[in-house]
């Protein structure tokens, strides 16, 4: 055969075994490119309402009424003319809470850098929904509240007792603060920059991002941040992390 040295020659044999092997090879290829060993085991899917809300906030107008995501460039063929992009990731993580989170104001996210040892977090934002309570002050009035979000700094000991204001969390570790003044006229979503916090988690090889959310004057203003509430999946807090892969071996340096 003239194609002895050519692996792609002579594939045209209608053999079912070849197709099965080929399918397996394609599956393995996809997993490799996503840096996964196996496909994730999805036993309890995220409520669709939470997922749709998160995607709708991020890709306004691209989620259809039936909840299906419409992202034109997600059709592989449509990406034909695109320049080869830098390998980027966007991770949407939904808030969790458990008995270890110190109080009603505590929540955590599980995000890991596993398999992506050189992921650089370019941006991370927490999305929180604030509900204007019906029993609050008059409708239409602007309410100015200060929201404080505490997170553990890099190098802090995770899992220790005590936290911001003695409320639990990471006692011996130092807690950093993100503070934002929020002007509320009606219920809605607000973002809080947490790039440093997520970098700290990735930096120490941890996968758990603990947060404490405190809202000053929220109660008197008739406003409440919605934390993890199983009865309200549409307003579940979420964290959006934008990261890009950096090649540690071939860095360009200017001298």
């Amino acid at each position: 055969s003239p194609q002895e040295s050519c692996a792609s020659c002579g594939l045209r044999t209608p053999d079912e075994r070849v197709n099965i092997d080929f399918l397996e090879a394609v599956k393995r290829h996809i997993l490799n490119r996503l840096q996964m060993r196996e496909r994730p085991n999805i036993t309890h899917p995220i409520p669709k309402a939470a997922m749709v809300t998160a995607l709708r906030r991020l890709h306004a107008g691209k989620v259809r009424e039936d909840g299906r995501v419409e992202i034109p460039s997600f059709d592989g063929q449509a990406a034909f003319n695109n320049e080869v992009l830098a390998e980027t990731s966007e991770i949407i993580s939904f808030a969790e809470s458990d008995e270890h989170t110190s109080s009603k104001s505590g929540l955590y996210f599980l995000i890991s850098n596993e398999g992506n040892q050189n992921l650089y977090v370019s941006q991370a934002n927490l999305w929180l929904y604030f509900r204007v309570l019906p029993a609050g002050p008059e409708k239409g009035i602007r309410r100015k509240v200060t929201v404080k979000i505490h997170y553990q700094e890099a190098g802090a000991v995770s899992g220790a007792e005590g936290g911001p204001g003695g409320g639990g969390g990471g006692g011996t570790g130092r807690w950093a603060l993100v503070e934002k003044r929020v002007d509320l006229k009606r219920s809605g979503w607000h973002t809080f920059p947490l790039s440093e916090a997520v970098r700290a988690v990735f930096g120490k090889g941890s996968r758990r991002q603990d947060l404490e959310v405190h809202c000053e004057a929220c109660e008197s203003a008739g406003v409440a941040p919605v934390l993890v509430d199983p009865g309200d999946p549409s307003h579940r807090p979420f964290l959006v992390v934008r990261a890009r892969q950096v090649d540690g071996k071939h860095r360009i340096r200017k001298r």
Partner: protein, 116 residues
Amino acid sequence: GLECDGTSGGLCCRQQFYIDFRLIGWNDWIIAPAGYYGNYCEGSCPAYMAGVPGSASSFHTAVVNQYRLRGMSPGSVNSCCIPTKLSTMSMLYFDDEYNIVKRDVPNMIVEECGCA
């Protein structure tokens, strides 16, 4: 680049191969797209096709191709049908921790094949 549509005459071409994630049971963790174009290259690469595409861009390649056409191949020619153009695919999926991940994976889809 030729498409393997029965008219390529067994020459190096791109074979389209679409995998619907529903059919392999992967739609529970891959949100978008609905499937993957696992296109591949197949077919023969006669000596005169080596260097295509882009053969005209180089004077030296043109000379070498003329030699090949006349059966006077300079050295042994081991030409192979390979992807010559690849494109990026964006994926939206759940990871092990139930996070939604959107990732742009470069060089995922074979757009063109050629002999090299």
